[in-house]
Amino acid sequence: MMYERALGFVCAVLLSPFLLGVVNRTKAKVAGRKGQPLLQLYFDLFKLMRKGVVYSKSTTFLFRLGPWVGLACVLLALLLVPMTGASSLVSFGGDLILMAYLLGLARFFTVLAALDTGSAFEGMGASREVQFSMLAEPALFMALLAVARLTGAWSLSEMSASVGQLSGAAGVTMGLVGMTLFLVLLSENSRIPVDDPTTHLELTMIHEVMVLDHSGPELSGILYGAALKLWLFAALLVSLLVPMPEGHWALQAGLWVACVFCVAIGVGLVESGMARLRLVHVPRLLVGAGVLSLVAVFLG
């Protein structure tokens, strides 16, 4: 049904800042703090949209265009991901390649906007970002390939629909796929152990430092895009790994959203339990994720 498919997209657009709030509240509770309000990111987004903006004299039109290209790419990629137990709004054989490359386009423009400022810090973040994404992308493709081999489908919605019919023997493969997708989630969304979203030590940031010079509405576009990206990866994880039971569509949707919040709580727990890895170890982590997914491909 059309409205079932649209429901997932609407949830993503409305609820993704809330997801980050859940992550932050989990971290606060584990640390024994009270934590920010759950709706903090919404307040931040509205505040930033009303603020004035400072542009660096070194920047060009790319700096002002970058955040909107990134946001547009993530919104279109969300159209392709199956959510709330139904299929995605747009689904066709091969949509997973388009989704991955749309995220690549967003990254391309984010890196260029960072290099536009002529600052040593943004350049550093951009350089690390392209290295880590180069390692994370094959891991993502291999994980999706493993699921494709198991289910025989090559559209994300079909994969998500046929996950429920897999036999128990596929459990090991799906477990490896789940680990890989979770590691790719942590890497692409700049979470610990790959990057620390709360550090403001310039030499330890990757994503945070790429957006250091953005302010005002551009910064709100970037923060919202980042929230949507976290929702996208969490949605991918839940749709591919958790088969939804039959039932009323509202019940399925509610269960699915609850699972996404569980993923967010999981991210928060990982962030609370670990420190950020040393930068030389992060490529090893990502290559390890890739190897796990290759094993999953050959097991299935």
Binding site: G52, Y55, R107, A120, G123, E137, L140, L145
Partner: protein
Amino acid sequence: MLGLWIGVAGMALVGLLAACLGRWASVSRWLGGMGLGVASVIAAVPLVGYLAEGVGAKPVLISLPWGLPLGCGSLALDSLSAFFGLLIVGVTGLAAVYGIAYLRHDDGHRRTGGTWLLLGLLEASMLGVVLAHDGVVFLLSWELMTLSSFGLVVFDHHLPSVRHAGLVYLIAGHLGAACLFVLFLWMANGDPTLAFERMQVGPWANLCFVLAVVGFGTKAGLLPLHVWLPEAHSSAPSHVSAVMSGVMLKTGIYGVIRVVSMLGEPVPAWWGVTLAVLGAAGGVIGILFALAQQDVKRVLAYSSVENIGIIFMALGVGLLGKHLGQPALEWLGFGAALLHSLNHSLFKTMLFFGAGALMHSVGTRQLDMLGGLAKRLPTLAVFCLVGAVAISGLPPLNGFVSEVMVYAGAWQSIGHASRWVASISVGVVLALALIGGLAVACFTRLCGAAFLGEPRSEMAAHAHPVSALMLVPMGVLALGCLVVGLGSWWFIGLLAAPLAAAGVKVAMPPILDPILHWTSLLGAGLLGLVLLLWLLRNVMGGTHEARRFGTWDCGYAQPTARMQYTASSFAQPLTDMFSWLLRTKKQNAEPLTEPFPDSKHFLSHTDDLFLNKVFHPAFHGVDRLLSVGRVLQGGRVQVYILYMLVTLIILLAYQMEG
């Protein structure tokens, strides 16, 4: 057909005329450039007309009056030839117009008239290669193509590096041509006309395939035969590099497709596997070496190696589909190879034009001396950005369409019953994913170092504006990239006729249609959404003023341009990770030890691994082996006369015996 003859004759005549008028530099330039452009358009018209006829068009056979004992002077125009011919005339015509402005700064210093003759001969000989229908015409055109492009490569022959590059190019070209000579003679089976239609292969199909791959792979730039590419493409003038990278490499691809179609059925499995493996290796290694180069044109040359690798991967997938009898795989593989040839011609030509324009306005090609040029040269920056997005294979431009076709082909057989077929398919997907990530790194590095940030040298700070004659061909190509990207669902229909002529007798697989339609739709949607968000931001969020200030740089009060990341530092995490492959040579890399250090000079360069570790040792080995025979060359005339006497006696004895 008449248009084709007029065009070809025009190319040669215009070139000759421009060479004769070399003393009047401006006249010769405009005559050469405009003349070649017009000749290319005239030659393009019948090709477009032929392609528009679609699958039903019959091959047009032409017989030249031929007096030589070998060969029969036959040419044939079929859809595959027309496809590659259109690429040739299109790119060379635009390069000729670009060359008018590019060669302007040589006016008064040196005569450039000869280059127009060579360029005209190059274009005519490339057309001869794709139209040839017998072995002798093919080999003559091939040799003329190699020699005329050699003359163009050594344009700056006062530089020793250019002379060295020319030598490497000549040797590589002739080693490849030697394989082709053997190939055509073998396939002719004693027939003196070497006509393609009478060529039979018999039991020697495997040997012919190997000869074809080595011979055409050398021209196309397949790993490990690509060693001449970075040297030649970075030494040639930019419009020549654009022609070489844009279309001359594709004549190698054309040759492989043509010979494979002549070898016919059955296709063994190892053909497809070899091409796929070599292509994947070329793709990954090519883009890694591109990340380590500091010269803009060397980066683009290695990126050509990467894209040729992708084309060969697609050909490998197609051949695998032919072997397995899977029509979808076959169509997707060969179709992706043809489409990526077209796409690569579009964006690589545009990027080489951009490199030439950078050289002209700034005066240097070293990435670490550029910077901040987007503010001074905004149009050039936009076109190079379009080229960078296209070459990284990102939607909504054309690079993504051909890459998605290769993905589609490989993805079809990941669930195949046979283990090794599934492994090859998984390997192709993995290689493409790696290449995609590395290409994004490489081209953000190129665009970022050249156009963004602050100028890193005085030359970059005082860049001259770029002439319109250089920007217009780039604009045409950028538009082409966008049109092919957004209109892929229509362009794919144009491939049906060339594919049928290439021996792919199957229909377009139905899985391709939804991908292309949705890609085009979402691509257009992306452009619209970006525009919408931009407008919303200016309407809603523009209530307060926008201030201009220095970069935040974490509060540094005195930032300089030298504090920003250079191209080398941007790629450093990746080049360090792959240092075992790249083997970058560094001079003066020891850390400073004195408390009051003097100024130091650090130099690093990455040479081609295969040139240093494979070809140079191999040639030195052959040299040492053959120098054993130097003992025969004593230098004394009496010994030589003795040799002649002994040979005569032996021959007389043999004759008398027989």
